[in-house]
Amino acid sequence: MSDPGQSQPQSDDQTHFGFKTVGKQQKATMVAEVFHSVAAKYDVMNDLMSMGIHRLWKRFTIDCSGVRPGQKVLDLAGGTGDLAAKFSRLVGKDGQVVLADINNAMLRVGRDKLRDKGILGNVDYVQANAECLPFPDNHFDLITIAFGLRNVTDKDAALASMLRVLKPGGRLLVLEFSKPEFDALSKVYDLYSFHLLPKMGKLVANDSESYQYLAESIRMHPDQETLKAMMENAGFEQVTYHNMTGGIVALHRGFKF
């Protein structure tokens, strides 16, 4: 996946921010700015951009979670709490759901949304960096990260951190944009995400740059096989992935034994 506008990191201290190359220290701040900017309109934009299909991708993730009453779930980069709301009901009063996000604005929107829905008691809110999770070893039965991994600066460190806090027998589900399976779809998707998406962002959220970053960050994210290899390198076992909507989105699943 290459684009004439994109540049490559020249050293270990550099990383991608969309198609730009920035210092690793800078990226977290820049991503934070993007999400501060879009937090209030995040749900509306998600529905608009995906034509509501993101709800089906998330439902599929929940169906693959195998979550049981009494279990502990970490919804990482949980944003506005779509997955956490459902997990909260599925684990019941004896279970626990931790909604974690590095971005305070997103976490606040998620917390308000869940409380407005009457979801209280078994959900905790933690502002945390996925690269160094502030939880004990072998603590969670399930970790999900939906549309969050591509924004993490050091993905390998984040996967290692997730493995550490996951219980033996637990599973990690990574729902993320990926590489379309067909060339024709890829072209249509490029047209949509580079031309239409920023305009929609400008119109609805008055912010085209954040949605330009969104399109670019999707292209820079590892494809299905690369992410699978990264999860295996981190120590996850039985790693598989399932393409959805022609590979626009993929769900990766890995276990810790």
């Binding site: 709800r55 089906l56 009901r89």
Partner: protein, 206 residues
């Protein structure tokens, strides 16, 4: 597009919207809190799992549930009458594993759903229009039912009495009785004949 999730999403939305229209449904959901009911329909390649809390979540997962029911869509309709459960199991139209109480509570939840549709409409149109609309609809329903009943009676009279295309129920009953009598006579005659046929053979044997 994930088809199972589209279906489960639709079912979930429909159930929860209906439950929200009945003020007594939270009370009836209480005995099901924390339970899971899995329904495996012959017509669907994946199971439907109903997870109960303060609302109903519908999943398309294979996990073990408190109660699992295997049946077809046709049997689903018969299950509205909970007293038919044992009969359906005996007829092997339905297979039920696990806690039967979960299935019964879910059946009651759906069966006892009591929605005041007039009240629901009045939220959008006001009381007067909602009341008038429902009164007109009820009158229309009564009139249509009565007209259909009368039309049926007329057609019955024409077919049986005027055109004699169909037999009267009493004539059919009488004919059936005569056929039964004839069947009994033939059976008796057959038995007698068999007896007479065997008699010479017994004499020869002596």
């Amino acid at each position: 597009m994930p088809a199972p999730q589209l279906l489960t999403g639709g079912i979930e939305m429909a159930i929860n919207n209906l439950l929200s229209l009945d003020p007594d449904s939270p009370q009836r959901l209480l005995p099901l809190n924390g339970k899971r009911l899995q329904v495996k329909l012959h017509e669907l390649p994946w199971p439907l799992t109903f997870a109960f809390s303060q609302r109903v979540d519908v999943l398309a997962d294979e996990q073990q549930a408190d109660c699992t029911i295997v049946l077809s869509i046709a049997t689903l309709k018969k299950m509205q009458d909970i007293s038919q459960l044992s009969y359906l199991i005996q007829q092997q139209e339905l297979s039920l594993n696990g806690d039967m109480h979960t299935a019964q509570s879910f059946s009651n939840l759906v069966k006892d759903l009591n929605i005041d549709w007039e009240e629901q409409l009045s939220r959008y149109t006001g009381d007067v229009i909602a009341h008038q609309s429902f009164r007109t609809a009820r009158q229309l329903h009564h009139r249509l039912t009565a007209k259909l009943q009368r039309l049926g009676d007329i057609l019955k009279d024409v077919a049986m009495d005027e055109k004699q295309l169909a037999a009267h129920p009493l004539a059919v009953e009488d004919f059936s009785e005569q056929v039964n009598d004839l069947r009994s006579d033939v059976a008796r005659f057959e038995a007698r004949l068999l007896q007479l046929e065997q008699r010479p053979k017994q004499r020869k044997g002596k």
